[in-house]
């Protein structure tokens, strides 16, 4: 409830690092307490109770008083000990250095993460709940990586990414329930459909950038959802599509008693039936799908098309003058980003077994975009960390009940204060000519550097 407002005296205190002025701190605390009082009066001071048919207003002065007092003292302590801007700058600096160091070991961290992910179901703590959460987490990682192509690499702000997720999910659900096709046939088709929708969205927005593009993509996401709700004959409207077939292990179902003439997974391996098999299988499925997305992005960044996307993000006019066709470049980014969204969508459908337009609301788009932006646009590892923050942390905070979202909001604010460009915002060159911190010691370059230094020294004299 403590609403911090930077008041003018904060800068006054900053002028004398190491010291603070008591009147200023008192004044600041009083202002903060005042704001807290204004907010706390309706939220805490008043309580509406149902007394039979009537609504009775009760006052809770004690609680109100305590809240304001806590804010006052808290703000005072912050001013005295931490909230001076030099301390703040130092902590931001430290975090930045940490981010840079973190990125240097990018590859190793990624590798360790992948190994951990592959062995996760074997760890002792990995019960059904953990694997389930990990699967959800990986869906968001995959969506984040998919959207990263559009937003992070190509710089096209897409607020309707969930539309492609929905297209993928419905493609799979409809193909599987209507034609009885297997997951492995539907998956590429769902990706293809989503990519087609990516191109359909791409065409009208080719000339838009930034805010305008964001608004149109937002609208597109909503259109898809509204169509799904209203096109009752095909999509079954708000009732959704149920009993979507589960994926099979190359034809071997994860059922206790398989259909006549088929074999189940546990029979194939000659082990006892366990409902965990399917959960773990789904987990590995999304893990592999997500890693394919990642591998694709890492590879494509080194190819002309991926470099083209990055160039487009930086300067469209320059791209055109260098002979790049911006139309094709943009469309390909939309299409490929959408395709991975579609893959994730069909995985979602097969995992849930039931989908409805409810699952594809704007908030999903917002979360996926937040993952990309928080992670640091274009950073693959950043997406994983941000997905962790946005998906796993709220799950942990579940025990804090209604304060969950509050803590979550606080975490977001802190990230934006300390790392306004995302957790890992540094772009790695695709071609490494020298390791970081390299100083030439031999050869032509070294001679040049020496000559340059000599020249500078001569000039200085």
């Amino acid at each position: 409830m403590a609403t911090d407002i930077a008041s003018p005296s904060a800068s006054a205190a900053a002028k004398r690092p190491g010291s603070y002025d008591l009147p200023g701190a008192l004044k600041e605390s009083a202002i903060t307490a005042g704001v807290a009082a204004v907010l706390a009066f309706p939220f805490l001071g008043l309580q509406a109770n149902n007394d039979g048919p009537e609504l009775v207003l009760l006052t809770r002065w004690e609680l109100f008083f305590w809240a304001v007092a806590v804010v006052f003292v808290g703000r005072m302590l912050l001013t005295v000990f931490r909230w001076r801007s030099d301390a703040r700058a130092k902590s931001a600096e430290g975090l930045k250095a940490f981010g840079a160091k973190f990125q240097r070991y990018n590859v190793w961290i990624g590798l360790a993460g992948a190994i951990f992910a592959f062995t996760l179901p074997m760890w002792p703590f990995a019960d059904r709940y953990v694997v389930d959460i990990a699967t959800t987490f990986l869906i968001y990682v995959m969506l984040g990586w998919g959207l990263n192509i559009v937003v992070g690499l190509a710089g096209l702000l897409d607020l309707g990414y969930v539309a492609f997720y929905a297209v993928g999910a419905y493609s799979y659900a409809l193909l599987a329930t209507m034609f009885d096709w297997s997951f492995w046939i539907c998956l590429p088709l769902a990706g293809l459909f989503a990519a087609t929708f990516g191109v359909i969205l791409g065409f009208p927005v080719l000339r838009l950038r930034g805010d305008y593009l964001a608004i149109v993509t937002l609208g597109f996401g909503e259109i898809i959802r509204v169509v799904l709700i209203n096109w009752y004959d095909v999509t079954n409207g708000p009732d959704g599509i149920g009993s979507i077939p589960r994926p099979t292990f190359f034809g071997y179902a994860f059922d206790r008693s398989p259909e006549e003439g088929t074999m189940a997974f546990h029979q194939l391996l000659g082990i006892d039936f366990d409902s965990m098999h399917r959960i773990i299988f789904l987990y590995f499925l999304i893990l592999i799908l997500a890693l394919i997305t990642n591998a694709f992005t890492l590879r494509v960044r080194k190819l002309p098309i991926g470099r083209g996307w990055e160039a487009l993000r930086e300067d469209e006019i320059a791209c055109r003058s260098l002979g790049m066709n911006p139309t094709n470049t943009k469309l390909s980014a939309f299409a490929i980003g959408a395709m991975f969204g579609g893959f994730a969508g069909s995985f979602f459908a097969t995992r849930q077994g039931f989908i409805s337009p409810e699952s594809f609301t704007f908030i999903e788009s917002a979360i996926i975009l937040a993952i990309v932006v928080l992670g640091g646009m274009g950073s693959q590892l950043g997406v994983v960390i941000a997905a962790f923050v946005l998906v796993i942390v709220p799950e942990w905070l579940r025990e804090f009940a209604e304060y969950r979202m509050l803590l979550f909001g606080l975490a977001m604010v802190l990230i934006m204060v300390w790392r306004p460009r995302g957790l890992l915002s540094h772009r790695d060159p695709t071609v490494r000519l020298h390791p970081p911190g390299y100083v030439p010691r031999h050869g032509v370059e070294a001679q040049k550097v020496q000559a340059q230094e000599a020249e500078l020294a001569a000039k200085a004299k």
């Binding site: 003058s321 911006p326 490494r432 040049k448």
Partner: protein
């Protein structure tokens, strides 16, 4: 090589170019000077097809390019260093140069790279540095180097001296001269810095309010009292 005849360009209601004729012959450095807002950049942009000319004709090596989209021009052999440099700030110098060779035969990438590095040794020193961390002059060198990576026949330069220290401007103009001399590169240079541009150019045009008002050899214009009064004295 490049012939612009009777070109009119509009920005909405604004009549920016009012029948411009310019000719650039093979192996020449031709400059276009004029004050702010005269339409110099517009002419260059019109040659590049964005905006397209409303009337008139632009011919490059016998081919009508009036309606050809910008991104196709590189394949024809026209490279452009656009106004304001427009390098890719988050990419390294090397990556920027790679982008320049997007439409070139990868077989001679190394050779072209060497040539650019020889022309601007600073770029080689800074090859793994991000474009955005370069100084203005270095960014301009990068923009020119990047344009050269496509092995153009005609190089279009828009105000390479804009916002750059005088010493570096001289370096860059030296480099332009050298490309022209050693590689026979045809250069069409739009400049506000009339003194340097006229000294460098074989021929020059003067633009006022969307019209070409004067043309001649660089030397002639440099000695012309009107030009001296309007563009050379007072300020530069």
């Amino acid at each position: 090589m490049l012939r612009v005849s009777g070109v009119h360009t509009y920005y909405g209601q604004i009549h920016a170019l009012k029948g411009v004729d310019v000719e650039v012959n093979e192996g020449e450095i031709v400059t276009l000077i004029g004050s702010n807002g005269a339409g110099k950049t517009t002419l260059l942009m019109t040659v590049c097809g964005s905006p397209q000319a409303a009337r008139g004709e632009i011919v490059f090596q016998g081919q009508d390019i009036t309606r050809i989209p910008t991104h196709k021009l590189v394949e024809l052999g026209i490279a452009q260093s656009p106004e304001g440099r427009r390098i890719f700030p988050r990419m390294t110098v090397y990556e920027n140069l790679q982008m320049g060779a997007l439409r070139a035969d990868p077989g001679h990438f190394e050779k072209d790279l060497r040539r650019v590095y020889d022309l601007f040794p600073r770029l080689e020193e800074r090859k793994s540095q991000r474009g955005g961390t370069l100084s203005g002059g270095e960014q301009q060198m990068l923009a020119i180097g990047r344009a050269l990576m496509s092995r153009p026949k005609l190089l279009l330069l828009d105000e390479p001296s804009l916002g750059i220290a005088p010493l570096v401007v001289r370096q860059i103009f030296e480099a332009i001269k050298e490309i022209n001399r050693t590689q026979g590169m045809t250069v069409f240079l739009v400049e506000q810095n009339a003194f340097h541009a006229l000294k460098l150019a074989h021929r020059a045009y003067v633009m006022v309010n969307g019209n070409i008002t004067m043309s001649g050899s660089g030397r002639e214009l440099l000695d012309n009292p009107e030009i001296r009064a309007a563009y050379l004295e007072g300020g530069h």
